[in-house]
Symmetry: C2
Subunit: 218 residues, 2 copies
Amino acid sequence: MDGALNRNTVHRLVRYLRVLEQLKALGFLKVFSNNLGDAIGVTAAVVRKDLAQIEAVGNKRGGYNIDPLIERISRLLGRDKRQYAVLVGCGRLGSALLDYPGFEADNIEVSAGFDLRPEAVNHSGSVPIYPVDKLEEYLEAHDIPVGILTVPDNAAAEIFDRLVAAGIVGVLNFTSLQLKPRPGTETDESERRCFVENISIGLELANLFYLVRMYASM
Amino acid sequence: MDGALNRNTVHRLVRYLRVLEQLKALGFLKVFSNNLGDAIGVTAAVVRKDLAQIEAVGNKRGGYNIDPLIERISRLLGRDKRQYAVLVGCGRLGSALLDYPGFEADNIEVSAGFDLRPEAVNHSGSVPIYPVDKLEEYLEAHDIPVGILTVPDNAAAEIFDRLVAAGIVGVLNFTSLQLKPRPGTETDESERRCFVENISIGLELANLFYLVRMYASM
DNA sequence: TAGATTGTTAATCGATTAACAATC
DNA sequence: TAGATTGTTAATCGATTAACAATC
């Protein structure tokens, strides 16, 4: 019974999975909700609820078997199949993400980058970079669900719309704009629902400065 | 009456501020809770509550005056003074963040980078990069509250401990580890509370893939 | 069995939403 | 005044926490 997992739950599942793989590497066979909770910083009750929700069954005495748990979560996250994304905006941050080694662990691959500037175009790297003109053509040919947006803020809205129009249904947004899925025609033939995850680095940092300053006295 | 603002509230305040500055640039003088809410994707009631919490007063008829509101939020966020951070781990992602242009808008500056690899050391760039050996020395000399952590996962725990030991009280963590403030001696002389903001890019992307796959049919 | 852990229900907590009197 | 918006209270919602019976 899934499909109803919210973002927080999915976040935790990804984290459980990382821990479980480490435990497996160490030769562990079983794990208690208690340990798993400690490892990712939540209570045991949350772990048990999460696992119950994905229909993982534990043993009242021996905890959860690691192997089937890894299996279950991996499949749920789609990690048994390779997952492809494109990236638009190959500046400093964008090109750093283009061959970010951390994606491999989740079986995720950025298959192409796009940039407006002719000098950024480069077919010889590990990930090819195309002119942004070719975006629609590429997406039509490759059926890729997710886009990473690392363009300057002033280009964000336009590129976002183009991504959605080209069939992208999930966007990881690094611009400081709060993107909304199509403010335009909602009821139109293209009832496109696009999920957006906003990662605003400046905002997180500003938040951190506030917190440390505020609690500096304590 | 502040000091009790939680993370979500601070996040929203940063966003309000960005919108307010744009409105000011357009020549606006006043704004309604309604507009502000639309702009950042929350309801008007949330905006009014947030603003009441920071003791910003609005006019029952004319909404909120933009100038004093900018003033108030800016001071609250400490943006009237320049805020400095250091960065450890000058790999692809790290060096992209070293001179990330988006920090300037929040009056934040990364004053130094540190790296283990001798070839990364570089004093001629816009931000100097020192050997990681010099970390404690530098922090002792400069009294910087916040650190950005972009080292490989296997170095994360060690560097984090060193940062905290050297007086860092806020860490923006880009590794996939869930860092906790000192699992060690809590009651010791160094009752150091360190705030951590975790940004796990791979995790967000994995989450996005889950969402799009789950709602693909709908 | 005795001890320990799961699975689940009830209680708590906090944040969001709705509603509306006060008032410009 | 009439209309509209704030400031605030009450209601709702969801997620977290506590508790405990079931059971290995």
